[in-house]
């Protein structure tokens, strides 16, 4: 396995406290999913109001997001055990605990938990959305 810094101008590497990138080699199959809010996976762009009518309840918004990912996973022959990373974007960090409770429901059948990070942000693209999650999943061929 090769883990290598990515430089476009190696002569100037010393100027940066970090490299512009890191490359790694992989033989696993990886699935990079776009961030999903509680609105339908397929929705019009620009967003139309009718598709962005969301329940105020954060638990229900979380459940809709995870149902979307459940469909994406199943469509690809995957399950929650294949999820390696969650990134959670919250408009109100105080809702973090309520969100984790719903996530736990989806993992109730196994002891698997993906890596996860959560941050509070100012705003999401869908009006009324209070949570966006993006997911990386993986399938090992061996």
């Amino acid at each position: 396995m090769a883990i290598t810094p990515v430089h476009s101008d190696p002569a100037r590497a010393s100027e940066l406290q970090y490299p512009p990138g890191i490359s790694v080699s992989s033989t696993d199959t990886l699935f990079f999913m776009s961030g999903a809010t509680a609105i339908p996976l397929y929705h019009m762009h620009p967003h139309i109001d009718e598709e962005c009518v969301l329940p105020d309840d954060i638990g229900e918004q979380t459940r809709r997001i995870l149902v979307t990912f459940d469909e994406i996973l199943k469509f690809n022959g995957l399950g929650w055990r294949n999820v390696v990373k969650f990134t959670q974007f919250l408009t109100d960090i105080r809702e973090h605990d309520a969100i984790q409770e719903v996530i736990a429901e989806f993992f109730a059948d196994s002891d698997w938990r993906p890596a996860s990070s959560a941050v509070a942000i100012n705003s999401l693209s869908a009006p009324g959305a209070r949570l966006e999650i993006d997911v990386v999943a993986a399938k090992s061929d061996d």
Partner: protein, 144 residues
């Protein structure tokens, strides 16, 4: 063989989305996790000097500088936009999303490639005056 493909759960609605709902990368692959890319030069003195971060206020111009920086970094490793599998897009003002995406189209529209995308609005970036920043994952052949 490295394979990078868009997966559509409902192909009849694929044209609704200006991004891929998900991108599947399979086969022996080299993955590139890039540091943040914005309108300031990729190589800059750290701590950041204000002289290196004099930015135009115009979001379209900042988007052009950002996509040029990204293109240059990708090209240095024989990669292009069609190798970008995931972008995390940070905007200072969500109302500028359409302008940023229209510049993205000018830069990369010819490739007809859409990565998976997550977009959020944040308070601030390291560079004073910056309005856009990208976090990018790319994939290419194992032995380029």
């Amino acid at each position: 063989m490295t394979s990078i493909e868009t997966i559509q759960l409902d192909p009849s609605k694929a044209h609704w989305l200006p991004y891929a709902p998900l991108v599947k990368v399979s086969g022996p692959t080299k993955l590139y996790f890039l540091s943040d890319i914005g309108p300031i030069p990729t190589y800059h003195r750290q701590p950041l000097s204000r002289a290196d971060a004099v930015l135009p206020d115009d979001i379209r111009e900042q988007a052009r500088m950002t996509f040029q920086n990204l293109s240059d970094l990708l090209a240095s490793h024989g990669l292009g936009w069609q190798n970008v599998v995931k972008v995390l897009e940070f905007l200072k003002d969500m109302r500028e999303a359409d302008a940023v995406h229209s510049v993205m189209g000018e830069f990369f529209g010819g490739t007809r490639w859409f990565p998976a995308n997550t977009m959020v609005q944040v308070d601030n970036f390291i560079a004073p005056g910056a309005r856009v920043q990208y976090d990018v994952i790319a994939a290419g052949p194992l032995n380029p």
